[in-house]
């Protein structure tokens, strides 16, 4: 477990917006994962993702890491933001945009 935890810690430290999901952004394999991808894409937020279906150790390790039983899981600047319900709620209320702006990981500037 220690190894997978340090690997996850490394990933969320390195990637400002990191999504653990089922499938890939192009081919999500779960409706909940698809919804979070859709929100991030709609907001124009650059993000990295990991497919837990390809890695059983990651699939179990990520739940243990965050003490959160479900996937997807979204991390911003190393901090666990939430799963599909929370991300959706935060998107609808505008809190997600505020959080991303505060963390300096807002929309692509195109520059």
């Amino acid at each position: 477990m220690a190894d997978i935890h340090s690997r996850i810690q490394g990933e969320i430290d390195q990637n400002p917006v990191m999504l653990y999901m089922k499938g890939t952004p192009m081919f999500p394999q779960c409706g909940f994962s698809a919804r979070v991808v859709q929100i991030l894409t709609h907001m124009g937020v650059p993000f990295n993702s990991a497919n837990v279906l390809e890695d059983m150790e990651l699939r179990e390790g990520i739940k243990d890491f965050s003490n959160w039983p479900t996937i997807p899981q979204l991390y911003v600047k190393g901090e666990f933001v939430g799963g599909c319900d929370i991300v959706t709620e935060m998107f609808q209320s505008g809190e997600l945009e505020t959080l991303l702006a505060e963390k300096g990981v807002g929309q692509k500037t195109g520059a």
Partner: protein, 77 residues
Amino acid sequence: MAMAASEIEALIKAALPDARVTVEDLAGDGDHYAATVVSEAFRGLSRVRQHQVVYAALRGRMGGELHALALQTSTPD
């Protein structure tokens, strides 16, 4: 594998006696639910912490027996 809505409600109420809980079976298959939980216990907690309290009440069933539970938590007005 499936869980009854009443069982979900009972587990949440056991952990949060003051909670107002509504559980809706979304697909009618005993596997995809939406729950709304209103409790004083959530006051001052982040959404992540609020949901963790509910997941803890479900004692490991979430993500296992219970595949999908869309959750909305709030404090009483």
